[in-house]
Amino acid sequence: MRKEPKNKLSRFSLLESFQELGMLTPALILLALFVMTPFIMSIPLSFTNQKLFPSPIPVKLIGLRNYRQILSDGEFWQAIKNVFLFTLMILPTQCGFALLAACFLNKQAIMKKTLRAMFFLPFITPMVIVTVIWATIYKYPTGLLNSFVQTVIPRFQMIDWLGNRHTALTAIVFLSAWQAYGFQMVIYLAGLQNIPEELYEAAAIDGAGGWKRFAYVTWPSLKNTTIFVLTITTIQALKLFTQVNILTHGGPLGSTNTLVHYMYEAGFIGQKIGYSAASSILMFLLVFTVVLAQRLLLKRMED
C-alpha cells in the first residue's frame, strides 16, 4: 500500500477534527466499557485466590503464584501446542476452500442463488447442532465415515476419530472448516465484487487465460481482503473453544485441549476466578505476539 498523499488542499479545520473525533468516539467508548474494562479488571484478580462464590475469609493476594502454577502445568503447554497445530491446519484448509468457492460462485450464471445458498448453509447452522451432526458422522464403530471408508477400502481398521488422540484434533479441524468457511467465502465474495470488470477485459485482450487472470488480476486485487481474512481466521483459530467443549472436553489425554478451554475449565468448572484470569492474560499476551508478528509480516508483503 502506498503512503497517503500529503493533502495540501484541506485545511485542518475545527469542524473537521470535531467530526473525525465524533465518528471515532462511539466505538471507543463501547470497546472501553465492554471489552477493555472487564479485561483490565481481571489483571488485579489474577494475583489473588478469588473464587466464584463468596468466602467468609478475606481474598488473599498471592503474588505470581497463579502464573507460576500455570507455567509449570504441562497441560497449559500442551494446549498451546494444540492451538498452534490447529491454526496451521485450518488456515490453508478453510481460507483456501473459501477462496475457491467464492471464485467459482462469483461468475456462476446458472442457479446462482440456489448454489450460493447451499454453499452458505453450513455456516448458519448453530454450533451445537453442527457438533451433534458431526458426532454421528465420526461415530465409532458404526458412524457414516467409518462405514464409508470401509466400503472403499475393505481391509480398513475402523477408527474412533474423536476418541483417538492421534486423530481427534484433525477431526475437529474438518468439522470447524466445514462449519466456518462460509464466513471467509462471504467476505471473499464481497471482495470480488470490488474488482473492476475492466481489469478482466484488459487481461483478456492480453490473452490471459483463466489461471493467469486469477494470478494477475484476482489475487492481487484481493490483497486487502486476504489480509483481513488471514488475520481474523488466525485469531479465531487460536481462540478455538466451542467445538472442543461440546465434543471432547479437551480429551483424549489433553490432545484437543485449547487455551480458552483451559481457562474455561479453571474459571467455570473449577470456579477459580483468579487462576482463570491469570491464564486469560497469558493467553492474550501470547496471541497478541502472534498477531503482531503476522501483521508486520503482512505489512512487509504489502509494501
Binding site: N49, F53, S55, T136, D160, G163, P252, L253, K272
Partner: protein, 429 residues
C-alpha cells in the same frame, strides 16, 4: 442506498427501544412478596409457575420468579450475590450446598419448614441438604437421584448370571468382573458395559457417576475426617478401583464416548449393561420393555454405596425467611406439583411420593431402596476444585494414562487449593 440504510437502522433502533421501554413497565405490587430463583426444562418451568400461582392464591404471598438457565446457573447466582440482588429462595445443585453455606449465603432452614415435610424426607434427601460442620439442614429438596446398573435380561440369562433382587445381594466385584468377561464372549455383544462416556467424562457425570465405586472399594476422593485428598485419593484402595476401570477400558469392554449413550437399547442391542442415573429407564424402557432390568450397583468390597443429590432449594441470608419457608413447605407438599414430577419420571426424595410413584414402587423399586445407601459427594467448600480435578484424572485414566500419576496429581491439586484458602475453616479442624 446508504442514506436509506441509515434511515432503516434509525427506525429499527427506535422501535427496539420502544419495545424495550414497554417491557420495563410490568411490575407487580403485592403486599408481601418473595423472590425465587430457579432453573429447569420447559416442563419444570411450567410446573413451578403453576405451583407458585396456587401458593399465591392460597396465602396471598406473591412470588417473583427469576429463571436462570441450567448451564450458567452458578455464574448467575454468583453475580446476584455480588450485585446484592439475591433472591429469597434459590435453587442450587446439591454438591454446591457446602460452598454456599460456608460462604454465608444460605441459612439453616429447619425452623421455617413444616414438620410433616421434614419427616417425609428420605435418608438420601436429608444427606443432600445437610452441611457437615454443624449437621444442620441448609436446604430442602423433593427430588433426588441415584445411579444403577441396567441390564439386558436375556443376555444375563444366557451367561447364567445371578440376578440380585435387593441391594443386600448386590453383585460382588468378582461376580461383576466375571459376568463382564462372559458377556464379552457373546456374539451379539460388542461391549459388555456402557458407563455413559458419551456424556463427556468432564460433565460432572465423571464425578457423580463413579465416586461411590471408590468408596465401595475402601477408598474415595476425600478423607472425611481431616478433609485431605492426599492419602485417600491416592490410597492403594482407590488406585485398585481405578485400575479396574482402566482394565475394562483397555480390554475394550466399555462403550466409547463417540458411540453414543444408546448402545444398550438401540436396534442392535450391542451393549449388555449400562451404568447410569435413574433417568436412563425412561429412555431405554420403550424399546426394550421387560427385557430391561434395574440392578443395584456392584459391591467393590466395602459394601454398596450409591450417589445421590439433585437440585434443591435454599433460603438466603437477607430473605423474608418465614414467607420463604412457607413457600417451600407449600410447594413441596403440593400434590399437583408432585404429580408433575411423577409424570416426568423424577426420582422421589420424599417417602410419601416414593410410595405412590408407579415406577419407583415397581420396576425401579431397587432405585428407591438404594436411597438408604446414599453418600454425598465430598460436602466441602472446595467442591468445584475437587470435582474438576477428579473428573480430569478419571477421564485420563480411562484413556490409558498412568493411574498413580494421575491420582497423585489430582490429590495435590485439591490439597493445594484447600491450603490456599487456609483449610476453609471450620473444616479440617
Amino acid at each position: 442506498m446508504g442514506k436509506r440504510i441509515l434511515m432503516a437502522l434509525a427506525m429499527i433502533i427506535a422501535v427496539g427501544s420502544l419495545v424495550f421501554a414497554g417491557s420495563q413497565g410490568e411490575t407487580q405490587t403485592d403486599a408481601r412478596k418473595i423472590t425465587f430463583m430457579y432453573q429447569g426444562t420447559d416442563q419444570f418451568q411450567a410446573s413451578y409457575k403453576a405451583a407458585v400461582e396456587r401458593f399465591t392464591a392460597a396465602t396471598g404471598i406473591g412470588v417473583e420468579m427469576r429463571y436462570a438457565p441450567h448451564d450458567m446457573y452458578h455464574e448467575q447466582l454468583a453475580a446476584a450475590i455480588a450485585g446484592d440482588d439475591l433472591a429469597d429462595v434459590v435453587q442450587l445443585d446439591g454438591p454446591f450446598l457446602s460452598s454456599l453455606a460456608w460462604g454465608g449465603v444460605l441459612v439453616p432452614v429447619e425452623a421455617y419448614i413444616d414438620q410433616n415435610l421434614l419427616a417425609d424426607m428420605t435418608a438420601s434427601n436429608v444427606v443432600q441438604c445437610t452441611y457437615p460442620p454443624d449437621g444442620k439442614l441448609y436446604a430442602m429438596g423433593h427430588i433426588d437421584s441415584t445411579v444403577l446398573l441396567y441390564a439386558n435380561k436375556s443376555y444375563l440369562e444366557k451367561i447364567g448370571a445371578r440376578i440380585p433382587t435387593s441391594v443386600e445381594d448386590a453383585w460382588t466385584l468378582e461376580e461383576f468382573d466375571a459376568y463382564l468377561a462372559a458377556l464379552a464372549k457373546l456374539p451379539e455383544v460388542a461391549y459388555p458395559l456402557d458407563i455413559m462416556r458419551a456424556y463427556g467424562v468432564k460433565s460432572e457425570w465423571g464425578t457423580y457417576g463413579f465416586y461411590t465405586a471408590f468408596i465401595s472399594g475402601g477408598g474415595g476422593i476425600m478423607d472425611r475426617e481431616n478433609w485431605k485428598a492426599d492419602g485417600m485419593l491416592n490410597s492403594p484402595e482407590t488406585i485398585a478401583v481405578a485400575r479396574k476401570f482402566q482394565e475394562w477400558a483397555d480390554k475394550g469392554w466399555l462403550v466409547p464416548a463417540s458411540a453414543g449413550a444408546n448402545m444398550v437399547f438401540n436396534e442392535q442391542r450391542s451393549a449388555a449393561m449400562a451404568w447410569c442415573g435413574n433417568w436412563y429407564w425412561a429412555g431405554a424402557y420403550p424399546s426394550m420393555g421387560d427385557d430391561l432390568i434395574a440392578l443395584p450397583l456392584p459391591d467393590f468390597g466395602n459394601g454398596v454405596y450409591t450417589p445421590n443429590a439433585s437440585w434443591i432449594f435454599g433460603i438466603t441470608k437477607d430473605a423474608d425467611k418465614e414467607a420463604a419457608g412457607q413457600f417451600l413447605s407449600y410447594m413441596l407438599q403440593d400434590q399437583a406439583f408432585i404429580d408433575d414430577m411423577i409424570k416426568t419420571g423424577e426420582f422421589p426424595g420424599l417417602k410419601s411420593w416414593a410410595a405412590r410413584d408407579p415406577l419407583y414402587s415397581t420396576d425401579m423399586k431397587i432405585a428407591a431402596e438404594q436411597a438408604a445407601y446414599a453418600i454425598a459427594r465430598p460436602p466441602h467448600p472446595a467442591y468445584p476444585t475437587i470435582t474438576s480435578a477428579f473428573m480430569k484424572a478419571f477421564a485420563n485414566i480411562l484413556d490409558g494414562a498412568d493411574v498413580e500419576d494421575e491420582l497423585n496429581d489430582a490429590a495435590a491439586e485439591i490439597d493445594e487449593d484447600i491450603l490456599d484458602n487456609d483449610g476453609y475453616p471450620p473444616f479440617g479442624k
